[in-house]
């Protein structure tokens, strides 16, 4: 029979061979997602940063729910991109609690309930318009007119007035200097002449604004963006260049990786200069440095918290919670889940180092707190609770409640998943049965917020001007917390104690450090006695690591020219290699 398809075979064979040939002819050889030809940016004028943007950029609107780097984190500590395109009034230093000037020159509590902020002279927008107190007042007022991330500021503020072009006066309705200072230090100031038109169209328009050509006051402009990276370019002029100098890199580029592994590989290969990612065993990687060159390498900024549902039978007994607190192997969590980046967690809600150390009271912790002590846990279970161990090794309380619970955290948050597993194993060793659950993030968040959980690892407030007060509020304040079944935004464990509210208010209203320390100490004591939650480990606000292959001069503990946060001030003293 004729074989007309002989020719077809040849054609197909050619096709199969052509594919790889074509791809090698034109393509750049690359391995596992690392960058080679970075789209034409000069390497010695570009700083590559990563770890803030994980999906394609859909908007550069600081007020939206998901702004792309560097316009995210508006109104919160750990905000990413402070001072690049948009600037805040001040930059808070989590190590010593100081406020470095940016748009603001100084701030002063003229009265306990009045804050006066003086702006730097000569501040200007990138389109040439002057930046005045009117822009500051407008930006703060947006939080009052609409439902924005920094709207809670208006729980404490009654009025923000532009006294003159360079002075802003903030009047408080309720004295809480820390909370107000936190907002003042973290809100991106927006140009009134551009945003008032959008704001007048209403909340929907304001949140839906894509802002793909952001006009800020900072030294960088948006050059290009794509699902693969965001690139900033130095603006032609910057109002603060005489005060702060121009940051050294001409370009700042943020590649968008699919996962931690891709980013960590790029960091190792020197394709990333400045990274905010969890890198296991960072001290073993050549050329990669962190803030400290010894343990714990990173500055503690927040406490991933084991939140306990105090309404659940069994967990509603503070003694059970205390027994659990004694049983957890904190050194193991610091070693495995946090890869040695944390000291073993202390039982206080106050972080023992950095800005919060002045409130930390070690004697308080020694007297009322706990540590890893399984013998003590067993003692509480047997002698104080009079629980009996069942045949399966799990304790049962005298009223018949079996100490069997679940712990949950979102699937994919590997360090928290590891911490959950350590908790589960530790508790099992003592006789409390805890099984782990890792639902998808939206489901877990919904569970925790509605009180539909036994125990969960969750966020609480990190270091900032409002902490540690804010952390106590997050964990213990039952005011404004709906019952189980409805969504809560703090005190997920539905803990309540009548002594909490007056102490919180007094701590908030304190005007001297000593007073504040006293009230916070009382709250801490109550916390350690009642155990509504258990600090598991310390985590930095942002992971601060950098590669010295192409750029030197990043601030470190031995050269603290700026704090280990990704502020613009970190770029002021960089030098290309």
């Amino acid at each position: 029979m004729r074989r007309p398809h002989g020719l077809l075979w040849v054609a197909v064979g050619a096709l199969f061979l052509l594919l790889p040939v074509l791809s090698w002819a034109g393509g750049t050889k690359e391995q596992n997602g690392a960058m080679t030809a970075p789209g034409g940016l000069p390497r010695n004028e570009t700083v590559y940063t990563g770890g803030f943007q994980w999906g394609p950029p859909t908007n550069f609107n600081p007020l939206s729910g998901n702004p792309a780097w560097p316009t995210g984190g508006d109104g919160s500590m750990g905000g990413n991109g402070v001072g690049f395109i948009y600037e805040t009034l001040f930059m808070f230093n989590i190590l010593d609690g100081s406020y470095a000037p940016l748009l603001g020159k100084s701030m002063e509590w003229t009265k306990p309930d009045q804050l006066t902020v003086t702006l730097q002279p000569g501040a200007m927008w990138q389109d040439g318009q002057p930046l005045t107190a009117k822009d500051v007042a407008f930006t703060f007022d947006l939080g009052k007119r609409f439902s924005l991330s920094y709207s809670p500021m208006w729980d404490y503020v009654s009025k923000v007035t532009a006294v003159n072009d360079h002075t802003v006066q903030i009047d408080l309705s309720k004295v809480n200097q820390g909370a107000v200072a936190q907002y003042v230090a973290t809100i991106y100031i927006l140009p009134e002449h551009i945003w008032s038109k959008i704001a007048d169209q209403g909340q929907q328009a304001l949140l839906a604004e894509t802002n793909f050509a952001p006009v800020g006051s900072g030294p960088y402009k948006l050059k290009t963006y794509s699902p693969q990276q965001v690139v900033l370019e130095q603006a032609s002029s910057y109002w603060g260049s005489s005060l702060y100098g121009m940051p050294t890199p001409k370009y700042v580029a943020h590649p968008i990786f699919k996962s931690n592994d891709d980013g960590n590989l790029a960091l190792k290969q020197g394709d990333l200069d400045w990274s905010q990612q969890f890198v296991p065993n960072v001290w073993t990687i050549p050329n990669v440095k962190t803030w400290y060159d010894h343990k714990p390498y990173y500055v503690p900024g927040s406490i991933p918290m084991l939140v306990i549902n105090t309404q659940k039978p069994g967990l509603n007994n503070p003694l059970v919670r205390r027994a659990l607190a004694y049983s957890i192997n904190y050194p193991l969590i610091a070693q495995t889940a946090m890869s040695e980046y944390s000291i073993p967690a202390k039982s206080s809600l106050i972080i023992p180092t950095g800005y919060e150390s002045k409130y930390y009271d070690q004697s308080n912790v020694d007297k009322y707190g706990w540590s890893y002590d399984p013998a003590k846990a067993t003692d509480i279970l047997q002698n104080q609770l009079h629980a009996t161990k069942g045949s399966d090794g799990v304790y049962v309380l005298p009223d018949g409640t079996k100490l069997s619970f679940t712990i949950q955290t979102p699937y994919g948050w590997t360090d928290w998943m590891a911490a959950c597993q350590v908790v589960s194993q530790s508790a099992k060793a003592v006789g409390i049965d805890i099984s782990t659950r890792f639902p998808q993030a939206p489901e877990d968040i919904s569970d925790v917020q509605t009180g539909n959980f036994d125990m969960g690892v969750f966020y609480v407030a990190g270091v900032g001007p409002a902490s540690p007060w804010l952390r106590f509020q997050n964990i213990m304040d039952s005011r404004g917390v709906p019952p189980e079944g409805k969504t809560a935004f703090w005190d997920y464990g539905r803990f309540s104690d009548p002594a909490v509210a007056p102490l919180l208010d007094k701590a908030a209203a304190s005007t001297t450090e000593n007073q504040k320390k006293e009230y916070l100490g009382e709250l801490d004591k109550l916390f350690m006695q009642q155990v509504p939650a258990i600090p598991l480990m310390y985590r930095p606000l942002v992971f601060y690591e950098f590669n010295t292959t192409h750029w030197t001069g990043f601030p470190t503990d031995s050269n603290p020219t700026a704090p280990p946060l990704f502020y613009i001030s970190d770029l002021w003293h960089l030098q290309p290699k």
């Binding site: 034109g26 750049t28 050889k29 997602g33 789209g39 998901n66 984190g73 439902s147 909340q203 919904s446």
Partner: protein, 337 residues
Amino acid sequence: MANPFRKYIVNKLVWYVIAFFVAITLNFFLPRLIPGNPVDVLVSQFLRSGGTGAGANKIYQAFIAQFGLEKPILVQFGTYVLNIFRGNLGQSFSLYPARVTTLIGQALPWTLALQLPAIIIGWILGNMLGALAAYKRGVFDRTLFVSSLAMSSIPYYAFAIILLYLFAVVIPIFPAGGGYSFGVTPSLSLHFIGDALTHYTLPFLSLILIAIGGQAVGMRSMAIYELGSDYVNYSTGLGVREERILAFVFRNAMLPQVSGLALSLGTLVGGALITEIVFSYPGIGTLLFNAITANDYPLIQGVTLLIIVGVLLANFLVDIAYGYIDPRIRTARMGER
């Protein structure tokens, strides 16, 4: 002849329209059964970037209103159906405020470029091999049959992982993932096309080899069946030339293969989901997967609507084609009247 055929088409059309409406209803309600709330994803991003509880509350309220999630479910459903007919698929929740049509438009070319050649070339090659095996018989047939059967039995995603492991990790010839390298901007340059092709090869091979296997097995069975049928024996006995007989044989054997091809093409829009995830390929599959994990209702609805339309259209066209190609079907329908 035209009228009964038209009746046949209209009859089919009515059922397809009903199926479409049932599908879009399920399309709306099923994603909302997933536990969790689309706004919670935004809230978690906010908390991760250092936000506090009170701020999260504001974000939550603001976006429930922004996404219209506080309206009664039937009102939301009505808006959804109306918008479909206006061509408005809405804005994604997790990638707000990007429009769903834009996102699908960006991802679709990658999926089409990956799947279309794989399906069509796989179909052609597979059928040729299968027919050849049925005709030649002997050693060729046996080796082909066994290897095709093996290929078609491997789940396509397992094969994808095997290829990835062998040719991107053990022997690193090809990249391990992505549509193109970092720092390379999509353009019509040789550089970009070459780079994209390097990333294209492994996913393409993982699909085409299995497609060939599946088609070869199917065609071989059909061809063997046809080759053993009465009219072939009778014609051979009458002395009809071999090529003429084979032409009829293969035309009959192709029928189910054609419908198979049409169905593959219809479902291709759904993307070889796991292949795309394994290779981090920026197609519809990855888009749908990310949308599902983020409870992004408009995006899920948009992609599944595309799949529904693709499948229904493919099935409808196959029915028409069958009615046209195979006279037995038409006459059977007419006989029923």
